[in-house]
């Protein structure tokens, strides 16, 4: 892998398309827009540059693994799959339809989804099991688990860090989408997480904290994998909930959104920098 990334323009173009897909899925029942937008760059980077996963090796046990643990950011994953040829773009129109299996949380009926999720704090442990078997069999596959920062409230996330440390799983990377919000409010106003870097370090992990919207920063961090021999890798990716749409960014009340068709049109224009959208839909914020 190159230490300097040369194709950031290409990645940014893919990420923009992914954000378009997310906005288009936020109507006719809606989706978790804010978290999907914060994770979009991370997911685009990982599938484009870091993971050995492509439409032809999905069933190959030697491919790399990505587990999407917070789950409700799955529109970003489906958007990325569509752009990278892992999923037919037309199927994104089937969001919430009985004719397909594209709904608010991931499921393995969609090729490329490794495990279903939606109940927080499950996939760190599933990822550990996969990483343990790779160690036992002597493989070189990488295992990535993306977790939300709100998800870190769940105790099982921390149990997983303890166990990964005990078994020296340096083939495993926990990526924290640190968008600074949980469902209803800023994380630091409810269950403070900081100093987060120190928490993971104290649990024995090797930690990098980066800007999760900079492909250069992502590349620098992931190029250093494995960070230290015998240690769990943790990437804290500082992100912005709603990234790319000023009318959604950093707003506690823009978590789950079901926009009108007009709003979606306006948001797509806003994504391309035309203007800021006046959102009038009733906002749904529940967990």
């Amino acid at each position: 892998m190159q230490s300097v990334i040369t194709n950031t323009n290409q990645l940014e173009a893919i990420a923009l398309k992914v954000r378009e897909h997310i906005i288009k899925m936020s109507t006719d029942g809606g989706c978790f827009v804010g978290a999907s937008l914060s994770a979009a760059d991370l997911i685009v980077y990982l599938y484009s540059e870091f993971l050995n996963v492509n439409p032809n090796n999905l069933t190959d046990p030697n491919r790399d693994y990505l587990f999407l643990s917070k789950g409700h950011d799955v529109p970003a994953l489906y958007g990325t799959f569509a752009e990278l040829g892992l999923l037919d773009k037309d199927r994104l129109k089937n969001h919430l339809s009985l004719s397909d299996n594209i709904y608010w949380h991931p499921n393995t009926k969609i090729p490329g989804i490794e495990f279903h999720s939606g109940s927080l704090g499950h996939l760190p442990s599933v990822a550990i099991g996969v990483a343990m078997d790779i160690k036992i069999k002597g493989g070189n596959n990488k295992v990535v688990c993306i977790m939300g920062d709100g998800e870190l409230n769940e105790g099982t996330c921390w149990e997983a860090v303890l166990v990964a440390n005990a078994y020296k799983l340096d083939n495993l990377i926990f990526v924290i989408d640190r968008n600074h919000f949980q469902a209803n409010m800023a994380t630091e106003d409810l269950i403070p997480l900081e100093p987060l870097h120190d928490k993971f370090t104290a649990f024995g992990a090797s930690v990098k904290r980066i800007n999760g919207h900079s492909f250069e920063a992502l590349h620098e961090a992931f190029s250093a994998f494995p960070f230290e021999t015998g240690k769990l890798n943790v990437v804290i990716a500082d992100t912005v909930r709603g990234k790319g749409l000023p009318s959604i960014e950093r707003r506690a009340d823009r978590w789950f959104c079901n926009f009108s068709a007009t709003e979606v049109e306006d948001l797509l224009k806003e994504l391309h920098g035309e203007h800021t959208t006046q959102l009038t839909s009733e906002t749904l914020v529940v967990r």
């Binding site: 409700h72 709904y103 105790g155 209803n184 269950i191 789950f256 967990r287």
Partner: protein, 312 residues
């Protein structure tokens, strides 16, 4: 009166009450400002919330706790059983989006075994209101009862005015000699439609809103099975452990059998989509229920099913 208004009124008038949530604020949006330090949000920590609720109850409090039904009953199951069940503490569980109400979320969020799990805990009481009116009528008694409780929260509005609630008693809506439908929760709406169709087809039809699933109204079950040629159990729950099982247990206890047709999810989760699609796809609309009972199609037009006010 809404759930939130009732909870606010009761908690403000009785210092024992503590309102808790594992960051599920849909039902308690305005309560933090009104209750001050008697509102506690533990973040996304269902297990810790239940343990803390037990600690508060140990000090004489009555915690009313909120989380999504699947996480409240399953992630925190052992904490509910061990910390609230074994010491018989008045921890009051309010479960959000149970059964079909989790519509488009997927199996992780489908609580379709909650009645089965909760009624298996000694000391636990279990309730499932038909709509908001039923919910508001039952909660004061449930929350003032000394045992732990589980309520399948259902805030949907129907036009039906329910009779006063009595713990352990079902609500007899109608009696019938051909068919009696036993149901609970949001399917009550569809049962009312099914009853209309069946009556229109000339049948004598009974309907019972079970309300209290533990303790259960054995007399209502025995009366229905004795006096109707067919008993229907209707629930958005797995076939295992829910109302169908309860009816079977009650009949066997009394050495009886009956002709029972269950509507339930048999060894599968439901297909995720918006609620009206889910109901249609799984065969739980009033028209589909009636036609399955009749064994033939009717010209009846199924009324539109309202999309829930809240998604996940």
């Amino acid at each position: 009166m809404s759930y939130e208004e009732l909870l606010t009124e009761i908690a403000l008038s009785d210092e024992r009450f503590i309102v808790m949530t594992a960051e599920n604020r849909a039902l308690v949006r305005n309560i933090p400002a009104k209750l001050g330090n008697r509102f506690i949000d533990t973040g996304i920590t269902e297990q810790t919330m239940i343990g803390a609720a037990a600690g508060l109850a140990l000090r004489g409090r009555t915690p009313v706790v909120h989380a999504l039904a699947s996480f409240l009953t399953m992630r925190a199951f052992e904490f509910v059983r061990t910390d609230a069940g074994i010491p018989n503490l008045p921890v009051k569980l309010s479960s959000f989006i149970p059964g079909f109400l989790s519509d488009g979320n997927g199996p992780t969020h489908q609580a379709v075994e909650d009645i089965s799990l909760m009624r298996g805990i000694p000391n636990m009481t279990v309730f499932a209101p038909a709509d908001e009116d039923d919910l508001v009528k039952m909660l004061p008694q449930i929350w003032n009862h000394p045992n732990p409780s589980y309520v399948r929260i259902n805030t949907r509005k129907t036009d039906y005015q329910h009779s006063p609630f009595e713990l352990g008693k079902a609500e007899i809506i109608a009696e019938g000699e051909d068919v009696t439908i036993l149901t609970y929760g949001l399917l009550f709406e569809q049962a009312l439609i099914a009853v209309d169709i069946l009556k229109n087809e000339g049948l004598s039809v009974g309907l019972i809103n079970m309300r209290s699933l533990k303790p259960v109204d054995e007399h209502a079950i025995l009366h229905a099975t004795r006096n109707s040629k067919l008993t229907v159990t209707l629930e958005d729950h797995f076939l295992t452990g829910g109302l169908y099982s309860i009816v079977a247990e009650v009949l066997l206890k009394h050495g009886l059998t009956a002709n029972v047709l269950p509507f339930a999810l048999n060894e599968k989760w439901f297909k995720p989509s918006l609620l009206p699609n889910v109901m249609e796809h799984e065969g739980f609309t009033g028209k589909q229920i009636a036609e399955k009972i009749l064994g033939y199609n009717t010209r009846f037009h199924q009324p539109q099913i309202a999309v829930p006010q809240f998604s996940e």
